[in-house]
Amino acid sequence: MAGEEKGVAKRDEGLERAPSLIDENPEERVIRALIDDFPSAIADFKKLKKGVVRAMIERRELYKACKMLRDKLGFEHISMISAVEYDAKFEIVYHITSYQHQLLLELITSTPKDDLSVDSVSSIWGGANWQEREAYDLMGVKFNNHPKLERILLPKDYLYHPLRKDFKG
């Protein structure tokens, strides 16, 4: 499992290789790798500040992209999953951390209100399990293939999803 050593991955192998800006910048490397693998699904890259990158992704590729992020790019930890309601859609925002590269990736996917579901990433990061349950509980977002999609903070027989904008006390 990666993550034992700090700093950017081995750079000393093969001295004949020309130095490249992408190796120096972990942010650039993540962007490059994601664009290479998911050219049509990834959009709107932006480096927010040092070590923080934002990207939009289409929800059909979300699971595959997350798997690649953990297995190939060294993102070991999912920090936060937030659901945000807009007029016509929901945005699910994933904040994913790389311990070894000291990066934070803000991955945003959106889902329409009439088909409110995204793929669960809790089989990739165990820490996503309860956070997805919380998003389901408070916002009503369905996570496909989640091992136990039940209410977590509110009682099991509760009828509403209280963080939605149309819920008034």
């Binding site: 993550g3 927010l48 070590g51 920090s79 311990y99 000291q102 903070l153 509110l154």
Partner: protein, 360 residues
């Protein structure tokens, strides 16, 4: 032997707050576990959508009674990120000194509860007594003992009081002496060590994958501290070493928190010495812009994080709070399975549960 489910909680001396741990036992051995939270859900995220940016600072204090300053600071940091405000340097140093005092106070409260759980009742009295030293300074600084309402969007509420430097240095000197005494007290206690060593092992891979953060993660041998690895505020200018321990057990979690208190004393000394003269607050606009902001801090319990969405009015459109313990407690089954019922107290105590932030 027949297996059965046992409820430890919501009213149980082990829980330290209102939550329930259901464990399935086979004789004395735990074969399955299921934490249940939500008894203290107050809907803070919904409440925040109906309050102005300034009104949320005292609400953020109420997230955790043990480390309230860390949460109001995190909230202010997040909104500063949304509004693009530069905080004056003096304010940052005041915040760092206060935050580290809050961290020591929080860890001492954890130690008090932990020691009392494991039968060292004298530890409770000692820790609570020494916690007062820092609470007194924070009270003189902010005016209240537990929920400080001290950080502001764009700085801190007011400057330090005249004898702040003398008091903090004195408190740090006192604390470092006492910490040595605690270590001798606990590590010299055979009962305490027997209930800690080799109990509740959480492997490095599991700790990372299950989202455990903070002292519990560093106790599993991962050297990751947000203060060091993704620095915020003025932590890059301060010299300290994140505490880690390779053993992955309860003793390791105890040791990491003890070492962190030493490091916090080190940080406070430097922050007080380096504190520049100048302003301690800039005025923030009333309305936030359209956009998003994130804040991420090393809370005493782990990775605290907030995500705010602004829509141009004076109220946040959405504020999402990431609670470190909410995620850490979901890793409890991994730590509990295979150990005895008597170990539950040590294992769950070592996580430093705080239900206020877990349930929000």
């Amino acid at each position: 032997m027949a297996e059965m489910w046992i409820n430890m909680g919501p009213q149980h001396p082990m829980t330290h707050g209102l939550w329930n741990l259901r464990i399935k036992v086979d004789g004395e051995t735990i074969v399955d576990a299921e934490p249940e939270v939500g008894y203290l859900h107050r809907g803070i995220e919904k409440l925040c959508e109906d309050r102005t940016y300034t009104q949320i600072i005292p609400i953020a204090d109420r997230l955790c009674y043990g480390a309230s300053l860390a949460w109001s600071h995190l909230y202010c940091m997040t909104v500063e990120d949304l509004m693009g405000i530069e905080v004056p340097e003096r304010a940052e140093y005041i915040r760092v000194a206060a935050l580290e005092m809050q961290r020591i106070a929080s860890h001492l409260m954890w130690l008090a509860a932990y020691a009392a759980d494991l039968g060292a009742m004298i530890g409770f009295i000692y820790s609570m007594r020494d916690r007062e030293v820092f609470i007194d300074i924070l009270q003189a600084l902010s005016g209240s003992r537990i929920t400080y309402n001290f950080p502001r969007i764009g700085g801190v509420a007011h400057d330090v009081y005249p004898t702040f430097e003398r008091d903090t240095l004195r408190a740090c000197g006192y604390m470092e002496k006492k910490l040595k005494e605690y270590e001798d007290l606990y590590e010299g206690s055979k009962v305490f060590m027997m209930r800690n060593e080799g109990v509740g092992v959480l492997k490095k891979q599991d700790a990372m994958n299950l989202g455990v953060t903070g002292p519990s993660l560093r106790a599993s041998g991962v050297k990751y501290d947000i203060r060091k690895d993704m620095p915020y505020s003025v932590y890059p200018e301060i010299d300290f070493e994140p505490a880690t321990h390779p053993d992955c057990d309860c003793y390791s979690r105890f040791k990491v928190r003890m070492d962190e208190m030493y490091q916090s004393c080190r940080i406070i000394r430097q922050a007080v010495a380096k504190m520049p003269k100048g302003k301690w607050r800039v005025l923030a606009p009333r309305n936030g812009p359209v956009g998003t902001g994130i804040g991420r801090v090393e809370d005493p319990r782990g990775e605290g994080m907030m995500y705010v969405v602004g829509n141009g009015t004076d109220r946040p459109y959405r504020l999402k709070i990431r609670s470190p313990i909410f995620v850490s407690v979901s890793a409890a089954p991994k730590m509990l399975i295979g150990y005895k019922v008597a170990d539950v107290v040590a294992i769950m105590g070592g996580l430093d549960m705080c239900i206020g932030e877990t349930d929000r």
